[in-house]
Amino acid sequence: MIADDSVLFRRGLCLLLEEAGFEIVGEADDAQELMTRVRSDVPDVAIVDIKMPPTFTDEGLRAAAELRRLYPDLGVLVLSQNLEVHYAMRLIENQVSGVGYLLKDRVSAVDDFVDAITRVAAGGSVVDSGVVAELLARRRAVNPLDRLTEREREVLSLMAEGRSNHAIQERLFVSSRTVETHVRNILLKLGLKEAPDDHRRVLAVLAFLRS
């Protein structure tokens, strides 16, 4: 299900996703229509623009919250034209899992986009790499991230994006054991506890970066 007030964008996205092998079950102009359509036919993932009528502020976020509450198995991917850490945090903090925040630009990197949809559908979390980058780039007087090695920082940003160890391993072309070691070291150096699952891990990392 795709909800976006721009017909042009919806059409483009539909074509892209159908090419990639997804089935589009419906389209909506605004949040209200989205809720109506979902009620009649619940998809696996809803892709929702964050700014929609009537106020064009955070309709998408609120719709995501509502959808997750009503349909816990439904993954919601929120797309935004601008990169705002504030909204990403709001989404993740409130839902923890089964949600994602991506910049609309990422749509053009089809493989990554498809991967994000798949992860959200499976109940994982997705955080746009730009959001993570902004959080990491934040200037601090005393930067705890300085304790990490270059590699460890790479792993950290991938963790913050919501990727699983397996995904990290594939991206960095290393063994799973290496990834585990890195993750453990990172958590140790930053004073973070081991999280019970990937989603909460994302939350913990993001919360740490935010503070």
Binding site: T55, T57, D58, Q81, N82, L83, E84, V85, H86, D105, S108, E134, L135, A137, R138, R139, R140, A141
Partner: protein, 607 residues
């Protein structure tokens, strides 16, 4: 209200302090009068039996002396504080002193000899200080002092070498100062003395004419009778000087001398008439009172006061207590100067606070009571006018501020146009050209894909640039979510480690939020640009109807509101909302930017 503390110095204008008038000392004029008459009588009684000069000459001499004494009495009676009266007394007394030469005693004779012609000194001082009694110019003072010195000194120098017996004075007592008898030297001394005297006399005349030419209003009216008196006086002086150098026949002497003396009598008459003319016309003040009863149209108050005081070039300036400066009726800044021929008289309101100041001809301040009366009569009108002037001054400031805001807006638009032109627009042009090429290119699929990748890259860049631009113009996060999230976003992206200590959770009217946001943005930019700071803290708090924004950095300090810091335009924006912007930036001590903007008071507390 005692007359004593009438004029203290007022803020901003170095006003002269007028001494309190001495009402008790009335015996001075009486003493002068009595003394003068007595001296004249003495001269007559002593001189006539001697028949030294001819009888009628002696009589004329005494009459002139009495003329000076009489005018001195009139002047002292009317204007006891004015130096004019005292100078006239000096002239009169010194006029009679040479009659000491009638004495048998050598000492007395010699004193008389020394004092011969000394009356010219106070007379010159009168010329150069009439009618206020003060000499404004250093040159004038120098000339007069020279006369006071040169006249007796010249006589002394002559007396050193002149033995009167040898010179043909029969029966004269001996000259006490006689050093050696050298008639030739004495004669040359006399010539030198006369020439010096002549030079000084000419100098006095030139300075007086200059004063006459540059005088206006009451001063001019006062000097006019003196001018009439000068003509015969000048002729008299010339005659005296010429007669010492050139031999004159005794017949001419007997005719000319009395006429010349009589001519001198014209001077005291001239001075007295001038003194009276410089007084304010009582009726003019009466007219003013009637005029003030009705409403005076804006801008006419100055004219009315000028008419009442007889000084068409009267200047009127109002004191604005809040801004601590003087303005004219249009609200424009005025500097009040109290130099030279113009004097400044402060006017106070009914609570003794400074209200306004009149800058007028020095002659007007002769009649202090009249000026005071005028000031009191006009007080109410002045207070009204001052309110008007204050409003106008504020309007000027508002206009200036609006202009700055408009200019700032234009400047920002120009920047925007340039950024769009140089950045995004160029890219889009490049992209459209590339697309064109793809269209017309040969059908090698590899090349197509390459080109399209290139285009995609350029599009991404363009998007990023436009996004940043839009955020710089007005961040949507501020509009949608308020100050807290927007400022935190600024802090995250700042080039200097920045911490938001406190940010409000409630929303405010959008101009207030904009102003606060941009103050923070600019302060952060400054901290990164100039000061080399290592940490910045931002605190935003709303309490008691004020939104306080504080940005503190620990950099080098020395920043100001103007001078390229970009805070100048923000100050206008904050001021237009009724707020204030302060930059506290001691050199070497970091910078604190504080903005306070009024906001509607909450009825409850925000969550």
């Amino acid at each position: 209200m005692s007359a004593d503390d009438r004029y203290e110095s007022s803020p901003g204008a170095g006003v002269q302090v007028a001494e309190p008038s001495d009402d008790g000392v009335r015996w001075i004029p009486l003493a002068v009068g009595f003394g003068g008459v007595a001296l004249g009588v003495v001269e007559l009684t002593v001189g006539i039996p001697r028949a030294e000069p001819a009888d009628h000459l002696l009589l004329v001499h005494v009459l002139v002396g009495w003329a000076f004494v009489g005018s001195a009495l009139l002047a002292l009676a009317r204007h006891p504080d004015n130096r004019v009266g005292k100078l006239l007394v000096a002239v009169g007394m010194l006029w009679f002193v040479p009659m000491l030469t009638f004495s048998e005693s050598s000492l007395v004779f010699s004193v008389g000899f020394l004092a011969d012609g000394l009356f010219w000194a106070p007379l010159a001082q009168l010329f150069l200080s009439f009618p206020s009694g003060r000499m404004d110019h250093r040159l004038d003072r120098a000339i007069v002092v020279s006369l006071y010195v040169a006249l007796p000194l010249g006589n002394l120098l002559v007396g050193l070498f002149l033995d009167l017996e040898t010179a043909g004075c029969v029966g004269c007592p001996a000259n006490v100062f006689l050093l050696s008898n050298d008639p030739a030297l004495a004669a040359s001394m006399w010539t030198v003395d006369s020439l010096v005297g002549a030079a000084l006399a000419v100098a006095v005349l030139i300075r007086f004419l200059r004063r006459w030419r540059t005088s206006t209003g009451p001063s001019r009216r006062a000097l006019q009778p003196v001018m009439w008196g000068i003509v015969p006086g000048f002729l008299a002086a010339s005659y005296f000087i010429i007669s010492t150098v050139v031999e004159t026949s005794p017949e001419l002497q007997t005719v000319a001398l009395p006429l010349v003396n009589l001519a001198l009598a014209g001077l005291p008459v001239g001075f007295v008439v001038g003194l009276f003319r410089s007084q304010l016309d009582r009726s003019l003040v009466g007219n003013l009172l009637v005029e003030l009863k009705g409403a005076i149209p804006h801008g006419r108050l100055r004219e009315a006061l000028a008419r009442a005081l007889g000084d068409p070039q009267l200047e009127l300036a109002y004191w604005l207590p809040e801004s601590g400066r003087y303005v004219d009726e249009e609200g424009r800044d005025v500097t009040v100067s109290d130099t030279g021929p113009r004097r400044a008289t402060p006017i106070r309101d009914s609570q003794r606070r400074p209200l306004a100041v009149l800058v007028h001809d020095a002659a007007v301040s002769q009649d202090e009571q009249r000026v005071e009366a005028v000031a009191i009569a006009a007080r109410l009108a002045l207070e009204n006018e001052r309110l008007n002037a204050e409003v106008r001054a504020q309007l000027q400031e508002v206009r200036a501020s609006r202009m700055r805001v408009v200019n700032a807006g234009d400047e920002a638009r120009r920047h925007l146009e340039r950024d769009l032109h140089d950045g995004a627009q160029q890219r889009l042009l490049a992209i459209s050209a590339a697309i064109e090429r793809v269209r017309t290119m040969d059908s090698t699929p590899g090349r197509h894909i390459e080109m399209l990748s290139e285009i995609a890259g350029e599009l991404k860049e363009a998007l990023v640039e436009l996004r940043d631009l839009a955020r710089g113009i007005h961040p949507s996060l501020l509009t949608d979510e308020g100050l807290g999230p927007a400022v935190e976003s600024l802090a995250r992206r700042a080039r200097v480690p920045t911490r938001v200590e406190e940010a409000p959770s409630q929303r405010f009217p959008s101009p207030v939020e904009s102003a606060a946001y941009f103050v923070v943005a600019e302060a952060l930019a400054n901290a990164a640009r100039h000061s080399g700071a290592s940490e910045v803290t931002v605190t935003i708090r709303a309490d008691e109807g004020l939104l306080r924004v504080r940005v503190r950095d620990d950099g080098a300090g020395g920043a100001g509101v103007d001078g390229g810091s970009g805070l100048g335009g923000l100050e206008d924006r904050v001021l237009s909302l009724g707020g204030s912007l302060l930059v506290d930036s001691p050199v070497g001590g970091g910078t604190v930017v504080t903005a306070a903007i009024p906001v509607p008071v909450e009825t409850g507390h925000g969550s």
